[in-house]
Amino acid sequence: MNKTVNQKAWFLVLPVVILVAFNALIPLMTVVNYSVQETFGDNTFFWSGVRWFEQILQSDRFWASLGRQLFFTFTILLIEVPLGVAIALTMPKKGPWVSVCLVLMALPLLIPYNVVGAMWNIFALPDIGLLGKLLNSIGFDYNYTRQTGDAWFTLILMDVWHWTSLVVLLAYAGLVSIPDAYFQAAKIDGASSWKIFRFIQLPKMKRVLTIAILLRFMDSFNIYTEPVVLTGGGPGNSTTLLSIDLVKIALGQFDLGPAAAMSLVYFLIILLTSWIFYTLMMRNEEQ
């Protein structure tokens, strides 16, 4: 067999290359460009090397935002993943209620982020909001605009309300794909429902849960709109997550260099964590 060598095939991938270049590579390189230069208003640039990176990594403000970000992400993962699995387990597998449940579950996912933020902002207001008023009337001193703990509570509750559905839908997809024979076999083997969950359902959901955790990790690490609308990062800086801080630096203070350096660090953290997590899960799979 003779292979035909024809370099013209490269032209066929050209549209994709252009697309990727414009929506990912070029913007990213712009950021890289900013991150190693000092800018002034009239479009003048000076080479500054890794100075912005050093500044970011030595700044307490950055580490504080990162700390809050990590706390937020891990807290919502700890709540949303087990809760999502638990809800998926209670959903019916067949019958007319399946579609009702699926639609109900999908609803929060369809609401625009800023609307979610606005909804919860009003819902949780201590004087007129349903939730805020209720909590106060039953004896809690609840005010998310003034008290850090309350702000965090509202922020996490909002995210759980908005995004647990995603975990539910993914886990549910994993559950319904398990053949009936597994449950019949488990019955015959005399397995308890805990053992059925532990040895059949959970292992069969592993792939979808990996995806769910990855998606929720990345999304929550990037979260911006909802907390900005809800708390604006306050009270004080207490709910200022990484992305909020980044916008403050880039657009509030117009420090493009440090903001670009911070974006890259931010990006690398997400990339690295996702990669490590994915590799670990998949290596486990192969064994």
Partner: protein, 355 residues
């Protein structure tokens, strides 16, 4: 261990079955002795899986009873029935080792660990998994996994019955043969009642002492492989079992005489015809059909060499009649006639053997 009795069993998946067609399983009475090897044979959708699920307790029948020994288990849940089942597709607990998989049914029932160990090793030895006990079950090939499923079925002592639901579907052909003989051997060693569901006649006939042939939710015949072969009770059995299947030839019956066209044919059940007259069907297997000097005139249409012998497809008018001839035998090119072995030619009335 116990005898299994199915009494007046009927099942419909509909809430209010009206006509017989609404029943997935029509009236069934069977008795299976303790320690027997049985096969349920039939095409897809004939109700064999329904029957199996009723026996295993995954389904409660609309009518009738299932007895294990003298005990009525019709409404007993699966886990209370002491049965084992091997499914069409291998079911293994992926995260466990092969050993833990085999031990699972015993541990769930609180069997002491030293007995679990003893039993697991005996069964692993029987199904050739001893060398793999420490491996993770998910890493095994399809036949290895099916062996684990099989092993989990065998590992408990004193189960009432082990059921196999087309267990060799996903197994490579050359391993099918091995596993099939393994099953037969295990049956002899353990002496547990085994029920084997399949649509493959070879699997059914090699495994079982007694084969139950089903069609459209009914048992058409229950008998030994030899009975099914030599004296099918229904043309369906004749056609479904054997390769090629039985020849079904329209015939005229009058005055106790069976005629195909102008030719009178000797049949085994002529005495049972009584005063019946009219058009019936003559069933005779290719194995019991030979070329002869006189008899039914045919022309040879096609010869297929199977290696061991030849399948000759002949035509009488438009009717196809097949016969098997030895490799050395001569096949007449013209003026061919067919003769039928009278002891193995039967007349069928509306599909059923005239009796």
């Amino acid at each position: 261990m116990a005898k299994i009795t199915l009494k007046d069993l009927r099942h419909s998946y509909l809430a209010n079955p009206q006509t017989p067609a609404d029943y997935a399983l029509k009236r069934l009475d069977l008795e299976w002795r303790d320690g027997g090897a049985y096969a349920l044979l039939g095409p897809s959708g004939c109700g064999k899986t329904t029957l199996l699920n009723i026996i295993s307790g995954l389904l409660v029948p609309s009518h009738g009873q299932v007895l294990f020994g003298e005990r009525d288990v019709t409404r007993l849940p699966t886990e209370a029935r002491d049965i084992a089942q091997v499914f069409q597709f291998p079911v293994v607990y992926d995260t466990m080792s092969v050993y833990d998989n085999l031990a699972f049914p015993l541990r769930n029932r609180g069997v002491p660990e030293d007995q679990v160990d003893k039993r697991v090793r005996i069964i692993a030895e029987m199904i050739d998994l001893t060398g793999m006990l420490e491996r993770r079950a998910s890493g095994l090939t399809a036949d290895g996994k099916q062996k684990i499923s099989l092993g989990r079925g065998l590992v408990r002592e004193n189960v009432n019955v082990i059921m196999f639901d087309e267990p060799l579907t996903v197994i490579d052909p050359h391993l099918k043969w091995l596993l099939r003989s393994k099953l037969k051997e295990l049956h002899q060693k353990l002496g547990t009642t085994m029920i084997y569901v399949t649509h493959d006649q070879t699997e059914a006939l090699t495994f079982a002492d007694q084969v139950v042939v089903m069609k459209d939710g009914e048992v058409v015949q229950s008998g030994t492989p030899v009975e099914l072969f030599e004296k099918p009770h229904h043309t369906f059995v004749g056609h479904f079992i054997g390769s090629p299947g039985m020849n079904i030839i329209p015939c005229q019956v009058s005055g106790g005489q069976v005629r195909v066209g102008e030719n009178t044919i000797e049949v085994g059940n002529a005495g049972k015809l009584g005063t019946r007259e009219g058009m019936f069907e003559l069933g005779v297997r290719p194995e019991f059909t030979t070329f002869a000097k006189t008899g039914l005139p045919v022309s040879v249409a096609k010869v297929t060499d199977t290696g061991r012998n030849k399948i000759v497809d002949t035509r009488h008018g438009k009717l196809s009649i097949k016969l098997l001839v030895g490799n050395g035998a001569e096949i007449p090119s013209e003026n061919a006639h067919l003769a039928f072995d009278a002891a193995h030619a039967q007349v069928y009335d509306n599909g059923w053997l005239a009796e």
